[in-house]
Symmetry: C2
Subunit: 395 residues, 2 copies
């Protein structure tokens, strides 16, 4: 595969260091997919993790993991679940293992477009109308696309290419609820994840339908089809952090991303150097707070020996097996590394904004000392989120 | 049918004047349903109206009704459409003609509840987390329930009762986008309607799933099963206005409602006297602005001779045939009566709040004179919503 020069031109600005040993990622190897076919990942715990999204299999194991917590988390996933389950008979888990199918056709007529700058601004405005918190646009780049996905009926690898002729990717950011995130690790906090998947499913599908109604191809995508992290960075939405997340000026790492592949001609954004990743070089709060020690404390490296790490990219890479092993034991997703990140603030107050200004300047060492001095914000207890300890009184 | 006294007790506070000739409403007679079986309503225009929600049948007839306008409107309905179409083979249009089916079962265990006041406050907090703008709770009252709904396969009437034992109704309000509403009448403005149906479908389904996960029955409902207007008023969310809408202190009439029928024991709200309906008595702006003159200019009356008006309730009643006939000709929904209502402000600024304070006091005649003097806010032109006249340049 030859990557066109204009795509590689912005790699450096995006902070990407891609070697000659680069290989596109096969979704068979993501740790969630491996939990269905790879004996080194799947276990009684991973089975119990997936089962806990149905109430009859949700455990009751104390504060943050009681019936109310799982009730809220599982309900929050509902819209995402409805979309991702509807093509199960075809071996497709829409939005996760395979793109979301077009619910509406591409209109026979195309609207007359103005210049790509105007149309890009218009797309971002409509994304906001539908509820996206961030929106950026970049060029399609096959390097980030999965080579294969699983057929979810039997977990065998299949090719599932996008339609020909797609040229652009619209990346949307969806902020997670700040207070719920403060309760990680808990099943309660998982409601922040589920709510945002349900939001992003609705928003990305409405946006893609809008573009098809204008007469252009538009494929709605969540975690499927391609890695969203490099796309979000290329679309100018943030920088890559030690915690494996995109750090955004607006929300720090507290944001999820969806994407649309389209042939609509749109002006693209450029990657931004924000100084956040530079701060990550001197900060290891996320790695220090990680219970299974799945995050690196050192400098970026060229891969790991895990099949779940993309090959040939020098970056901070998590130990996905340790990370997901901890999720499985918890019976819920963990994002302590998001909660404790100094760029995440439950409310974006002036002192936080001033600190971010300092941390992203050449005075980052001073910002680090201030952050060390103030320490890590205590976790919000699930009982306090629920409005008092008796609020979660299920036996 | 005998209505328990405790339900009738709050009729007066709600402003309901219900006579001995009261009859429950049959959904066969709502004007949208009649458009599929009643030759006095259905026409080439009503068929074209429904067809226009597919792009291949959307007209192009000038500003506000071009491809971009229909593209946005039709895309905005997508999530609502997916839900309402999924049981078409069973003759059920979920959320419109029949309640939304339970996607998840009632959990086998029930959480231990605190007192109904605490639980009601908790439900309202979770409703807000899922995106509801308003939430109130009232008692189940069969007077507002449809006697029958159509089987949508052949438009014959069928009984479709709720499960036994439901006692409470949670009513949620969903505010429509203020700027889009300023463009009524236009297909563009219809995006405000579609977006809110998509929002409310997602929110009401997640809320109902949450309650089922707690171990209680919960049936999610939009326009189906029962009239939401009396329920919203009984739940303390607003008063009934001349324009047939619930006038709320927060958004005036610019809000849609969904509802959940449940057996969860919850403290109920009481109807509120807000002074808004009293202002309607001296204001006829909505009726004056209605192109087909479908709204009454006089005092409330005891019904009309239309089958689409509920029998035995003294209230302001629209001429539904004229109203929907105008929608059909437009090929989109009309809510000019919402836009011009003095209680609707695109931005809730201090002068508006002061005026509302005056209009809902005994000085309402003075408020009326001020409103007469300032006149009606000009409609926002669709070309201006789109960011300049060339923004809507489709041939």
């Amino acid at each position: 595969m030859t990557t066109p020069q204009h795509l590689r031109d912005s790699d450096q600005a995006a902070g990407f260091d891609i070697g000659p040993d680069f290989e596109r990622f096969n979704q068979m190897n993501d740790v969630f997919t491996r939990a269905f076919w790879d004996d080194t990942v799947l276990s009684a715990d991973t089975d119990a993790f997936f089962a806990s999204y149905r109430m009859e299999a949700a455990p009751r194991r104390g504060e943050g993991f009681n019936q109310r917590d799982f009730a809220l988390r599982n309900a929050s996933w509902l819209i995402s679940d409805i979309i991702s389950n509807r093509a199960a008979e075809d071996g497709l888990r829409e939005g996760f293992q395979g793109a979301i199918r077009n619910d509406t056709p591409v209109a026979a007529d195309r609207v007359t477009l103005r210049d790509p700058q105007f149309e890009a601004a218009e797309i971002k405005r409509i994304a906001k109308l539908f509820g996206a918190d961030l929106c950026g646009i970049t060029d399609l780049d096959m390097r980030w696309h999965y080579t294969q996905r699983p057929d979810t009926r039997d977990m065998t690898p299949i090719d599932d290419p996008l339609p020909d002729g797609l040229t652009h990717v619209i990346v949307m950011g969806h902020a997670m609820d700040a207070d719920l995130v403060e309760t990680y690790p808990s099943a309660l906090a998982g409601a922040a994840t589920g709510r945002e998947y349900s939001h992003e499913a609705a928003i990305v599908m409405q946006m893609a339908a809008y573009i098809r109604n204008l007469g252009f191809e538009a494929v709605a995508s969540m975690n499927d089809t391609a890695l969203v992290v490099p796309y979000a960075i290329k679309a100018g939405l943030g920088e890559y952090g030690r915690n494996q997340m995109v750090l955004t000026p607006e929300f720090g790492p507290r944001v999820r991303f969806s994407k649309i592949f389209t042939n609509m001609p749109l002006a693209v954004n450029v990657p931004r150097q924000l100084g956040m990743a530079s701060y990550c070089e001197i900060c290891t709060k996320c790695a220090d707070a990680c219970p299974p020690k799945a995050l690196p404390t050192g400098a970026p490296t060229r891969g790991t020996d895990s099949p779940s790490t993309i090959k040939g990219v020098r970056k901070w890479s998590a130990n996905c097996e340790k990370c997901f092993g901890y999720w499985a034991k918890l019976r819920s997703d963990c994002a302590i590394c998001m909660r404790v990140c100094p760029f995440n603030a439950p409310r974006d107050m002036l002192p936080h904004r001033l600190w971010v200004r300092l941390a992203t300047s050449r005075w980052r060492q001073l910002a680090k000392r201030i952050d060390d001095w103030r320490g890590t914000r205590p976790r919000l207890k699930p009982r306090d989120w629920w409005g008092g300890n008796s609020g979660n009184s299920d036996a």
